[in-house]
């Protein structure tokens, strides 16, 4: 029924359903990221580092491990896929002061990661100026081949756009049971990535916020399973 454990990268490429956006072949990863084989590029959105401590500063002492948890998942992906380039699609840091609150252990981990590969920070509304300490190049948007990578999706048409910002999740009912998962949402012309951060919540893809972005309604939600990604047609989805 299900295989657990780690599949070799090549197997994963062969078995994972491929998402084509404006001609680019992308692999949606169950960890909530996108792999672009041609560019050997790993793309993640909305890391929201130090969201926990931002709440702590306001008197809500959420466990201070969200940055650590997010980094650990990111690190696992990097060591499996060995990307040449990693692009974080904005809102990587929960706020401007995130760096000052980050535990030194986590900061060093991030620093080491960003130094090891070609790292790109796309700016987001939460982090218009990502901290310099962590290196990487900073862009408002990035064009690579047929794709444009930016934080906030633009109103359609936006062919070739990969964006984040909305934290898409999708819900589907199977045999009476409701399943709600993070997802990549795409109509084949563009794709919106789910939030990767450990404390980042989600917004259902049937919410009005998506209406202008996917006007045809003919999209799929690539829902995250434990070990697989499952594309589900919009008409099968449920709202929140």
């Amino acid at each position: 029924m299900f295989e657990s454990g780690i599949q070799p990268r090549e197997d994963r490429l062969a078995t994972s359903p491929q998402l084509r956006v404006a001609g680019a072949m992308l692999t949606v990863l169950p960890e909530g990221a996108v792999w672009w084989e041609r560019e050997r590029m790993l793309i993640v959105a909305d890391l929201h580092f130090e969201k926990g401590s931002a709440f702590a500063a306001r008197g809500v002492a959420l466990p201070p491990y969200d940055t650590r948890a997010t980094l650990a998942r990111l690190q696992a992906l990097v060591s499996r896929w060995k990307p040449q380039r990693l692009v974080a699609l904005g809102d990587s840091f929960h706020d401007r002061a995130a760096e000052t609150r980050m535990d030194e252990v986590d900061a060093v981990t991030l620093e080491t990661m960003t130094q090891a590969i070609d790292w790109t920070w796309i700016t987001g509304n939460h982090d218009p100026a990502p901290p310099r300490r962590f290196g990487g190049s900073v862009h408002a948007e990035l064009r690579v081949g047929p794709l444009t990578l930016r934080h906030e999706p633009r109103a359609a048409p936006a062919t070739g756009e990969l964006a984040g910002h909305l934290h898409p999740v999708a819900a589907v009912r199977v045999r009476g049971r409701r399943l709600r998962r993070r997802c990549v949402v795409s109509d084949g012309t563009r794709a919106i990535l789910p939030a990767f951060g450990a404390y980042a919540g989600g917004l259902n893809v049937l919410d009005e916020a998506y209406a202008n972005l996917l006007p045809s309604g003919g999209f799929h939600a690539w829902m995250m399973g434990a070990h697989t990604v499952v594309p589900v047609a919009a008409r099968r989805l449920e709202g929140d």
Binding site: M1, A61, P64, V172, L203, H220, A226, R236
Partner: protein, 859 residues
């Protein structure tokens, strides 16, 4: 105070007889009693006597025994005797229900007015307007009636010392219902604080009959290390033995005239509704108790279908709007109703003198619960109260018989002993810091005076203080955001105070231990029209979000006495239209919160094992058991019967532990994990109050016979170790428990109306926090609190453990070629329960199966 023998009422009554009432009561009181032709009851005088000796007391008395007057009489006498007393609060009364506080105030005002006493009584509840609350703190009444939450709030003000300094007495009403819960924990901590602020304070507990009075006697007294203090106890004579009937409707039968008919399964008791209606017709006012809200809806609907006489029959349950509930209560007080269909919302509360029949539809669940409900018929003490039990299925017949026997004997369920919850302690620690700077050493001693916390280790206490202050994480990155700070580290004043006024505000907004499930409003709209938030129809009440979650537009269900069609969910409101007549498509949600009590389960097992007792049962039920005897076997006392049989394309395992649905559900979760590992390929399971059924792809009976698996291993106690941990890790139950603990402990704030997600706003969820915390600090104090909670509440782990121990080496396997009579009820219950974990993954992939092609064609 050392342990004392219960005092009999006789002595004091004799004294009163011998010397005349004048020697124990002031003249005004003697006259007042005499004018009414009453004489004070002996337990009322006993409490007066104890009060004069400045002793605390627990009064155990049945309904109608003048419990409330007994509790207040000493205070009224003292207040009447005091020569122009200094101003200040004299007596504090705490009730689990605000409606009860209001009602008791009304009842108390009558004698005060009639005796012309100069005593001021006021209530303080969530409904009390702000200006009156302020005035109350400045100028307290003599007697204040309030709830545990309001007490916590009052204690969090800096003037708590002055406010409570003059307190002479605290009266805790319905203590049996309060003590054994998180609210009881909160109240116990409040009491411990009051004992410091008002050392002279007496405590009076009022309780229905309980199996273990010592628990409540201890609860009332401040505890000290190695020294068990118990309040004195006064036991009023029991009321008349109740008359309890079991309603088994007869149906015409062409062979035998009339036969009893009891369904195999189900909880609706539809078959009995005409008989229930007939009973209502014959009585003045009837309370019809049911176990769940959906059952209440159903019974209400059925009774109105039969209601040719247009009797005023009303509905009362926790999800109806407060206004609607108040209306029903008012009509009930006014005596204009013939029947109210209600849930546990009316288990406690106002006494309605007119009620002359209590009907309990469905399983009684516990002996004490049944006694409580029967007592709601406010009868005269010397007249028996009348009750009818209505079993909805055959197993419930057994349970009803067991409960009837228990109620007639006056037997009570034992209570599970609880230790004070740590999330509640966190809340209290924060509240104490809000009232004045706290010194952990002193607070630790104060807290241990509360009975539920008397064994609290210092290390745990310190971790709680740390948790309240900074979250208590191993990673010390939040020190700079600490909510509690030392007064002055410079001068060495290490007493802790809130870091900012915001902390105090947070505490006051979140006080209390009742965490409501996420609710959505149910609004009636016109059918067919696409609903918009702008046209609001009538608001019917609120319903749990998880129930609405499982509906698709077009589904019908019963709510607020209507058959509704779900149209859509708009923001936080479920839009529904009136549906055409017919059966609801979504039958019910959740079997009920209360599991079958251990005590009653034991009686049911005995009844089942002893076929001489079957003569008591209706023919249809004894015939069913005899059929089971022929076709399979009946579980003997102390052993566990396991049956296996093929059915359809699956193989079933059914066992009969009789430990209640919660314990069975936990057992089901754990057994399916084990069966999965053993290669039996379990597909799903269903748990009822009595039995557990699991269905598998492989023939489990055959595998056991061939010794490929061993039932003794399968049901081994060790499942409560690693398997439990592993299952809990992914269980949504634990996530829900964590959310409640996180809110009560003050880690995250409650969601208030108007503060809900506005669609775009993306906020964190407690599930995400849970996942991260579990992975990075699995022994965090809040996770410990969550586990402790889940183990007692949701999972009934202790009970499951007792069962596994009991049946060890006493498992009987019966391989059958088809379903047994005893298994039929649980199989008929088969619903939506499926194996957790990978099953979700399987379902998810199934959603895609047919779609993968479509999806891949798209690219």
């Amino acid at each position: 105070m050392s342990k004392q023998h219960p005092r009999t009422d006789g002595e004091i009554a004799k004294k009163a007889d011998a010397t005349g009432l004048e020697s124990v009561l002031p003249a005004a009181f003697v006259t007042w009693f005499a004018d009414r032709g009453w004489s004070p009851r002996s337990h009322q005088l006993a409490l007066l006597d104890l009060a004069r000796a400045r002793r605390s007391a627990l009064l155990i008395a049945p309904t109608g025994a003048g419990k409330t007057l007994a509790g207040f009489l000493p205070s009224l006498v003292a207040l009447s005797e005091a020569p122009k007393r200094k101003v200040g609060l004299h007596t504090l009364y705490i009730s689990p229900l605000k409606a009860l506080a209001v009602d008791v105030k009304r009842n108390l005002e009558t004698p005060i007015a009639e005796m012309g006493l100069d005593v001021r009584v006021e209530t303080r509840t969530g409904d009390t307007p702000q200006n009156r609350r302020l005035r109350q703190r400045r100028d307290p009444p003599d007697i204040l009636m309030t709830t545990p939450e309001q007490l916590a709030l009052l204690l969090s003000y800096s003037d708590a010392g002055t406010f409570f300094g003059s307190l002479e007495c605290v009266v805790l009403d319905e203590l049996h219902a309060l003590a054994n819960s998180k609210r009881g924990d909160l109240l116990s901590l409040g009491l411990a604080r009051l004992a410091v602020l008002a050392p002279a304070m007496r405590r009076v507990g009022l309780s229905a009959t309980v199996a273990e009075p010592d628990e409540l006697r201890r609860y009332l007294m401040p505890q000290r290390e190695g020294y068990e203090a118990l309040a004195d106890v006064v036991i009023a004579p029991p009321g008349a033995v109740p008359e309890i009937g079991i309603l088994v409707p007869l149906e015409p039968d062409h062979d035998e005239g009339e036969v009893a008919r009891i369904p195999w399964s189900g909880h609706s008791a539809r078959h009995a509704m005409p008989a229930v209606y007939a009973s209502i017709l014959k009585h003045k006012t009837t309370l019809v108790f049911v176990n769940t809200r959906s059952q209440a809806e159903f019974v209400f609907q059925e009774l109105w279908r039969l209601n040719e006489d247009s009797l005023p029959i009303a509905l009362h349950h926790g999800s109806l709007s407060a206004e609607q509930r108040r209306k029903v209560e008012a009509a009930m007080s006014a005596g204009t109703l013939r029947a109210v269909v209600c849930t546990s919302t009316l288990d406690l509360g106002i006494d309605w003198g007119e009620v002359d029949l209590v009907i309990c539809v469905g399983a009684p669940k516990g002996a004490s619960r049944l006694a409580q409900r029967i007592g709601r018929a406010n009868h005269r003490l010397d007249e028996p109260s009348r009750a009818l039990l209505v079993p909805a299925n055959r197993f419930e017949v057994l349970e009803c018989e067991a409960a009837r026997a228990a109620a007639t004997e006056g037997a009570q369920d034992g209570q599970v002993r609880r230790t004070g919850a740590l999330d509640v302690l966190s809340q209290h620690v924060l509240g104490r810091a809000c009232s004045e700077p706290i010194l952990p050493d002193a607070l630790y001693d104060e807290v241990r005076a509360a009975a539920p916390y008397r064994h609290l280790p210092r290390e745990t206490f310190d971790r709680i203080v740390d948790f309240v202050s900074t979250g208590g994480y191993a990673l010390k990155s939040y020190d700079r955001y600490a909510r509690l700070r030392p007064m002055s580290a410079m001068t060495g004043d290490m007493r802790l105070r809130p870091a900012s006024p915001r902390v105090i505000q947070q505490y006051r907004m979140n006080v209390g231990t009742i965490v409501e499930a996420a609710m959505v409003k149910v609004r009636m709209v016109k059918a067919g029209r696409r609903p918009r938030a702008s046209f609001g129809g009538r608001l019917l009440g609120e319903i749990e979000e998880y129930f609405i979650d499982q509906l698709t537009p077009g589904d019908t269900f019963l709510f607020a006495g209507h058959l509704l069609r779900f149209e859509s969910l708009v923001e936080t409101e479920a839009y529904c239209s009136r549906a055409e007549s017919g059966d609801p498509m979504i039958p019910s949600y959740y079997g009920g919160k209360f599991p079958l009590s251990t005590y009653l389960a034991e009686r049911v097992r005995k009844m089942l094992a002893d076929n001489r007792l079957w003569a008591l049962l209706p023919d249809q039920v004894s015939a069913w058991l005899q059929m089971q005897e022929r076709r399979s076997v009946l579980p003997r006392a102390g052993e566990l019967l396991v049956e296996t049989f093929p059915r359809g394309d699956k193989f079933y395992l059914v066992c009969y532990p009789f430990e209640g649905r919660l314990a069975h559900q936990t057992l089901g979760m754990l057994l399916t994990r084990r069966l999965d590992r053993a290669g039996v390929r379990p597909m799903g399971f269903i748990a009822s109050e009595y039995a557990l059924a699991i269905w598998c792809l492989r023939d489990i009976g055959l595998m056991a016979e061939r010794r490929e698996i061993y039932l003794s291993d399968l049901f081994g106690e060790d499942m409560l170790g690693d398997d439990l941990d592993a299952w809990l890790a992914e269980s949504s139950l634990l996530k829900r428990t964590f959310r409640d603990c996180a809110i009560i402990s003050g880690l995250i704030e409650r969601r208030f109306p108007g503060q809900e997600k506005t669609g775009r706003q993306v906020t964190f969820s407690s599930d995400l926090i849970y996942n991260v915390l579990r992975e990075h600090e699995p022994d965090h104090i809040l996770l410990q609190a969550t586990m402790a909670d889940a183990a007692t509440g949701l999972l009934d782990v202790a009970r499951l453990g007792d069962m596994l121990k009991r049946v060890k080496h006493r498992i009987t396997l019966k391989r059958l070629d088809r379903v047994s009579p005893l298994a039929v009820p649980v199989l008929l219950d088969i619903g939506k329960e499926a194996v957790g974990g990978d099953t979700n993954e399987f379902l998810l992939s199934e959603a895609a199966d047919s779609l993968i092609k479509e999806a891949t064609q798209l690219v």
